[in-house]
Amino acid sequence: MKVGIDVGGTFTDLYAFASDGRTATSKTPSTPPDFADGVMAALEAAEIDLREVETVVHGSTVVTNAVIERRFPKVAFLTTEGFRDLVQIGRYHRPSLYDPYGRKPPPLIPRRFLFEVPERVGARGEVVRPLDEPSMHRIAAALRDADVTSVGIGFINAYANPGHERSAGDLLAEGLPTVPVTLSSEVSPKVGALARFTTTMLSTVLRPVVGPYAGGLADRLRARGFDGALWFVASSGGMMAAAEIHRRPEHLFVSGPAGGVQGAIEIGGAIGADYLIALDMGGTSCDVTIVEGGRPFVASGYEIDFDLPLAIPTIDIRTIGAGGGSIASVDAGGVLQVGPRSAGAVPGPACYARGGSEPTVTDADLLLGYLDPRRFLGGRMVLDRPAAEAAIGGLAERLGLDPVETALGVVRVVNEHMAAAVREVSVDRGRDPRDYALLPFGGAGPVHALAIAEIIGIPKVVVPPLPDVLSAFGATALDVTHDAEGTLYAELATAEAAAIEDRFLELEAQARRALLDQGVDPADCSVRRVSELRYVGQTYEVPVDTPADLAAVGAVAVLQERFHGEHASRYGVADPESPVAIVNLRVTAVGATPKPPSARPAAGTAPGAPARRPVLFPGRSWRDVPIHQRRDLSVGASIDGPAVIEQPGSTVVVPDGWTVRVDGFANLIADRATR
C-alpha cells in the first residue's frame, strides 16, 4: 500500500491506495507543534494497517512554520572576509514603497553567529587569496565553545571553484566531528551569492530541525509495524528519501503545494489534458500553477521571505491572499476590498460561529445559496446563517448597498483576484489561458472555479473526484527526482558545444547517482535537460528544454531557436540577430514510481428529483436550482447550469451556460456552451 499525507496548517489529509485497487482517505486536524501526532491520527482515521504499507509520502509545512517563527537551534555561517552582511543587506530595496516605518524580515542566522574567513576566489575560479587555515582553527574552536549544532559555509564565487569551501569544511570536520557542515557549492553551484548563501543558511538552520522530525516520525511508524520507505514531497515537484531530506532539508520549503500540483497533473494526464491551470483555494490563500505537457514550470528565485531568494528549483507557484476566510472590508476611499487579511480557521468566517464577526467569502457564498449550512465539511460543521447575514449586513451599510448585492460584490471581487492570479501565471509568460483547462481543488476551489473560468474565457473546468484531499492523492503519484545544476557562462556563437555537452553529461551522472543512492532501480530512471539562456547583456535567464546530445550537428542551433521562440512568447520581443549566452545548466533525473488508480464513478443510484434551493448568480435573479449529490451521479450523467453539486468536503457551483458531465474517471467535466 502507498500512503500520501499532506500536513497543512489546519488539516492533515490522507489518501492511500493498494495494488488491488483499494483506496482510503481521511481528513483530521493538524496538531502543531508536533505535527507527527496528527499524522498518526490521520492514519488511524483512515484505518490504515501500517504493516501493509510499502511507501509513505509526506508533504508538510513543518519547515515553513519553523522558518516563519525563526525557531531554530544555535547554528553558524562562515563567509568570505568583507561579506558577512551580504545576505542582511540583500538587494538594497525595501518591502513597502511608502512606509516610513518599514521593517525587513529578521535574519535566518543572527549576525553574532556569522564569521568571516580570509580567502578569495575570482569569478573564473582563480584563487585570489589563499584560505587562511589558522583563522579556520580559531573559528572551529569558537564554534565548539558556543555549542553550535550545524554550520554552513558560503564563499564568494564558490560556484566557479568549490576548493576553498571544501577545505574549510574539512578543517571544521576535524574540529567539530559531530556537527553537520553545509557547503554553498553543494547546495547550489550556481552564480548569485545572495540566493546561494540564503539557501545554504536555510539548509543549515533546518538540518537540526528536520532530522529529528523525520527520524521521530519514522520511529513512530515503525513502532506500528511499518517496514517500508518514508519519502518527502520536495519543492521542485518530486519526492526525496528521508535520508536525503536530512542532508538537504531546504528542499522541503514549498513541499505543501507540490503534492496538489502533481495530483492535478495525474488527473489531467488520465483524460489527455496536459495543459492545465491548477487552482488550490483553501481557507486563507489560493495557489495557482500552470502545467504544460504534464509538467509544472520550475524556477529558482522563490523568496522564503522578503529579499531572501532560494537558488534551488521550485515549482513556480503564485500565491495570493484569497480564500474562504478572506475578509471583506471598505477602504478609506469607500471601495470594497477582499483579503489579503483572513479570518483563518480560528476564529474563521462569521458563519463558523467560533467568534469571528467579520464578513468573509464563505459568508457571502452561504448567503447566495452556494453552500448548504448543514452539509459543510461533510456535515461536520453547521454554518450559522444569521451570523453571516449580520456580518455581510454591516458591510452593506458601509457601502450603501443591500446585503445581497454586497455578497455578490464580495464574490465578484475575490473571483477577480483569483482570475488575475491565473492571468499572471499564464499571460505574464505569454501563455493564453484559454488554451488550458482549469483544475480547481481545495474545499473552496470548485465553488468559485466556473465563475473564474467565465471571467477569463477558459472553456473547460475539470473537478477531480476528491478535490479536498488532492494534495495527498498527488503525493502518492510523485516520482523520485533529483536536480543537478551548474553555471557555465559562454556565448553560444563561440562556445564549444563539446564542452557544454561534457558538463551536461557530468550533471547527468551526478543526478542518476543521487537516484540510485535513494534506491531507485536504474531501469526506472530517465533524465531531462534545461538550459538557462539570455541575450548577452541581460541578467534574466529563460529556461529552455535542451536536446540530448548538444555536440551533435545542429543541436546548438536548435537550442538557440527555442530560446528566441520562448523569449518572443514570454516577452513579445526576440532578436535573432543578438548573441545568446548560456548561463546555467540543469539536469533533472526522474525515477518513476507506481501511480494511484484512476477513480471509477459510483454505479449511481438513480435518484429521484434532486432537492432545490434558491441560489443567486451575478446578473440574475433568485431562482430555485437543483442541488445534486455527487455520489448519485453515474458515468455520462449530464447536468446543465444553473445547478449545485455537493460532495463531502466541497461544492461545485454551476452557473448558467455551463454543462457538467461525469467522465469515466469520476471527474466532473464542465464545458461552457459556445455562444
Binding site: R91, S96, L401, V413, R423, V573, D575
Partner: protein, 596 residues
C-alpha cells in the same frame, strides 16, 4: 468634501481599477526582463505608467517614487510637441530636463493606445539609461556648469511613426553613448513595455467597453483624491517651516539651503519652496517636474501610502516654486544630481516641517541620497568599454516603533544592487567588501539604520571613478531627541597604508568636496564608499540597556559607542559581554546632570 459622482458601480470599479495596476505591473515585469543594461535590469531604475486621454496619471508601477509626478510632465510635453495628435503606433521619445524631463539619462517613451480610432489613453515608459554621452561616464559630471556637459538632450521627437522606426533618431542615439551595444536592447525593452500596455488595455476595453473604462479612469482619480484629503484632515492645521542643506553643488564647498514652508488647511496642503537657494553653478539644480515629484512622494509616506498612485493625489496639494532657482532649473543650468540630492533634501524639509505638525508620527531622516558612483574603463581583455555603477545605500531613520532599516535604498527610488558575483563575471572588477558600518546609525531610543561600506576595484588596470553624494558634512538628522547618523565618505585604498579620503571629512578634520567625477584610479587602487547612517528617534539614554547589549553582541554598536552614545557600559565576564549596571547608572546619571 462632496461625494464623487459615481458613473460605474463600485464593484465594476474595483475590478477595472485592479486591471490598471495589473497592466503597469506587467509592463515593468517585461521591461526588466528584456532590458540589457544593468541599471535597468538589476537596479530597476525605471517606471511605467498609464495616462488617460487628458494626460492625467491613472496608474504607475511603484519602483521609483521620484517619477511619481514627473512622468506626467513628460507625457504632457510629448503631447504639446505634436498638437495635431499622435497616431496609433507613434512613440515619442524625450529626455529634455527643461521640457518634461528630470535629468539627461532618464529617457521617457510615450505611446497612444487607440481602440477603434479613439485614443483611450497613453502608455509611458521611463528608464534611466546608462550613458547618453557627456563629459563623464553616465553623464554624471559632478562639477558641470552647463547642461551640454551632461550629454545628449533630446526634445520630444517621434522615434516611431505609425509603427515604423525613424532610422535618423536611432542613429543619433547610438552615436552619442559610451555603450552603444546597450541601446537596441533597451529600446526593445521599453517597446515591449508599451506593447504590453496596448495589448492589455485593448483586452480591458474589449471586456468592459471604452465608456466604462474611461469612467473608471475618472473614478480612480476621484478615489485617490478622497483618500488623500481624508488623510490630510488628520494633520493639524498650521504653518510649519524647515530648512536643510545639500553639502555642495559640486563646484563650491558651500552648503546649499533648501527651505520649505508647509501650510495645512482643512484637507489641503501647500508646500512653498520659494525661499530655497537660487540657481547654483553645479549640477544640483532640479527641474520643476522633479521638485513636484519630490513633494508628492515625501507627503505620500504620511498621507495614504496605499492609495493608488495617480493624479488624484495632486489635487489637494499645491506646490509653489520660484521662477528660477535650485528647485526650478532653467537653461543652461546643469541638473544631473538634482534628481538625486535635491529631491531627497526637498523630502527631508517636507518631513521635518511635517514633523512639527505630527511629532508622534515622524521618523528620523534617512541617509537622504542616491550615492550613485561609477568606476569605468576599457576592459583590457576585450577592448569593450564598461561602466560599473552601484548605488550603495545608507540607513533609514529610527521610528516610533523600532530601529531604522539598515542599508536600504532611500525614498526617491527603490533600486537594487549591482550583484557581486554577476558583476565580477561580466566586468573586469572585484569587490573587496560589502558590509554594515559599526556605530553609523544615529543613536536614539530607537536607533537609526546602519550605512553600508563597499570597496570595489578594477582588476589590474587603471580606471576613473566618480560619485554623487550629499550627506557627508552633517549626518541625517534625528527626531524627538535622537542624534544624527554618521556622515558618508569616499576613500581610495581603504584600510591600506596609503588610504586617502576623496570626499567628506578627513581624519584631520578637513572636509573635501564629496561629489566628484573622472577621478583617476591607478592600477591596483581600490574605491570605497561609506554611506551615511539614518537619524535616531528619541533620547539615546532611554534605550533599553539590554538592546544596546544585543547591538554590541551583533557588532552594530561598538562597546565604546555604547558608552559614548548611549551611556551603557559593557563589561566582559568570563569572555561574555554584559551590561555593567553600576557603571551604566553612573554614565546615564552624569548625562542627565550635564543636560541640566
Amino acid at each position: 468634501m462632496t461625494a464623487a459622482v459615481q458613473t460605474v458601480d463600485p464593484i465594476t470599479f474595483a475590478v477595472v481599477r485592479a486591471g490598471f495596476d495589473h497592466i503597469t505591473r506587467l509592463m515593468s515585469t517585461n521591461l526588466q526582463r528584456t532590458s540589457y543594461s544593468p541599471i535597468l535590469y538589476d537596479m530597476v531604475d525605471f517606471s511605467n505608467a498609464l495616462f488617460d486621454p487628458a494626460s492625467r496619471l491613472i496608474g504607475q508601477t511603484t519602483n521609483v517614487p521620484v517619477h511619481l509626478a514627473s512622468m506626467h510632465f513628460s507625457v504632457q510635453a510629448a503631447l504639446d510637441a505634436f498638437p495635431e495628435g499622435l497616431a496609433e503606433g507613434d512613440v515619442v521619445l524625450l529626455n529634455d530636463p527643461y521640457r518634461g524631463g528630470t535629468h539627461i539619462p532618464d529617457v521617457t517613451f510615450t505611446m497612444p493606445v487607440v481602440v477603434d480610432g479613439e485614443t483611450v489613453g497613453f502608455a509611458a515608459s521611463r528608464g534611466h539609461w546608462q550613458d547618453l554621452g557627456g563629459a563623464a561616464p553616465g553623464g554624471m559630471v559632478a562639477d558641470a556648469t552647463h547642461i551640454v556637459q551632461e550629454g545628449l538632450r533630446i526634445p520630444p521627437v517621434k522615434l516611431y511613426e505609425r509603427g515604423v522606426l525613424d532610422p535618423k533618431v536611432h542613429a543619433i542615439l547610438k552615436a552619442n553613448t559610451r555603450v552603444p551595444h546597450f541601446i537596441d536592447g533597451d529600446l526593445r525593452a521599453h517597446l515591449s513595455a508599451l506593447r504590453t500596455a496596448e495589448r492589455e488595455l485593448h483586452a480591458l476595453t474589449a471586456r468592459y467597453g471604452v465608456a466604462t473604462v474611461r469612467a473608471c479612469m475618472d473614478e480612480a482619480l476621484a478615489y485617490t483624491e478622497r483618500r488623500t484629503r481624508r488623510a490630510i484632515l488628520e494633520i493639524p492645521d498650521g504653518v510649519y517651516a524647515a530648512e536643510d542643506w545639500i553639502d555642495t553643488d559640486g563646484v563650491s564647498p558651500d552648503s546649499v539651503p533648501i527651505r520649505c514652508t508647509l501650510t495645512v488647511r482643512d484637507d489641503e496642503i501647500t508646500v512653498d519652496l520659494r525661499d530655497s537657494s537660487p540657481l547654483v553653478a553645479g549640477p544640483i539644480n532640479y527641474p520643476a517636474a522633479g521638485s513636484h515629484s519630490a513633494v508628492y512622494f515625501a507627503l505620500k509616506f504620511f498621507l495614504d501610502p496605499d492609495a493608488p498612485p495617480n493624479a488624484g493625489m495632486y489635487r489637494p496639494i499645491e506646490v509653489l516654486l520660484p521662477e528660477s532657482g535650485v528647485v526650478n532649473a532653467r537653461w543652461p543650468a546643469p541638473v544631473f544630481n538634482g534628481n538625486l540630492s535635491t529631491s531627497e533634501r526637498i523630502a527631508d524639509t517636507v518631513w521635518q516641517a511635517l514633523g512639527q505638525a505630527i511629532p508622534d508620527r515622524m521618523v528620523g531622516m534617512t541617509y537622504g541620497d542616491c550615492n550613485s558612483y561609477s568606476v569605468s574603463a576599457v576592459d583590457p581583455a576585450t577592448g569593450v568599454p564598461y561602466i560599473a555603477d552601484d548605488l550603495p545605500p545608507g540607513g533609514w531613520g529610527g521610528t516610533p516603533f523600532g530601529d531604522g532599516m539598515d542599508a536600504t535604498y532611500s525614498r526617491h527610488g527603490n533600486c537594487m544592487d549591482l550583484t557581486v558575483e554577476m558583476t565580477e563575471l561580466i566586468y573586469p572588477v572585484r569587490f573587496e567588501r560589502r558590509e554594515l558600518i559599526t556605530d553609523s546609525g544615529g543613536p536614539g531610543a530607537h536607533r537609526g539604520g546602519l550605512g553600508m561600506r563597499q570597496t570595489f576595484a578594477p582588476t589590474d588596470h587603471e580606471a576613473v571613478c566618480g560619485i554623487e553624494t550629499s550627506r557627508s558634512k552633517m549626518g541625517a538628522p534625528g527626531v524627538q531627541g535622537g542624534a544624527s547618523g554618521r556622515p558618508g565618505r569616499s576613500l581610495r585604498n581603504f584600510g591600506r597604508s596609503n588610504e586617502e579620503v576623496l570626499g567628506g571629512w578627513t581624519p584631520d578634520g578637513e572636509w573635501r568636496i564629496c561629489s566628484f567625477s573622472n577621478r583617476p584610479l591607478p592600477r591596483g587602487d581600490t574605491f570605497t564608499n561609506e554611506a551615511p547612517g539614518g537619524g535616531g528617534w528619541g533620547d539615546p539614554a532611554a534605550r533599553d540597556p539590554g538592546r544596546v547589549l544585543e547591538d554590541v553582541l551583533d557588532g552594530f554598536v561598538s562597546p565604546e559607542g555604547a558608552l559614548r552614545d548611549y551611556g551603557v557600559a559593557i563589561a566582559t565576564r568570563d569572555g561574555v559581554p554584559e551590561v555593567d549596571e553600576a557603571a551604566t547608572g553612573r554614565a546615564r546619571g552624569a548625562r542627565k546632570g550635564s543636560e541640566r
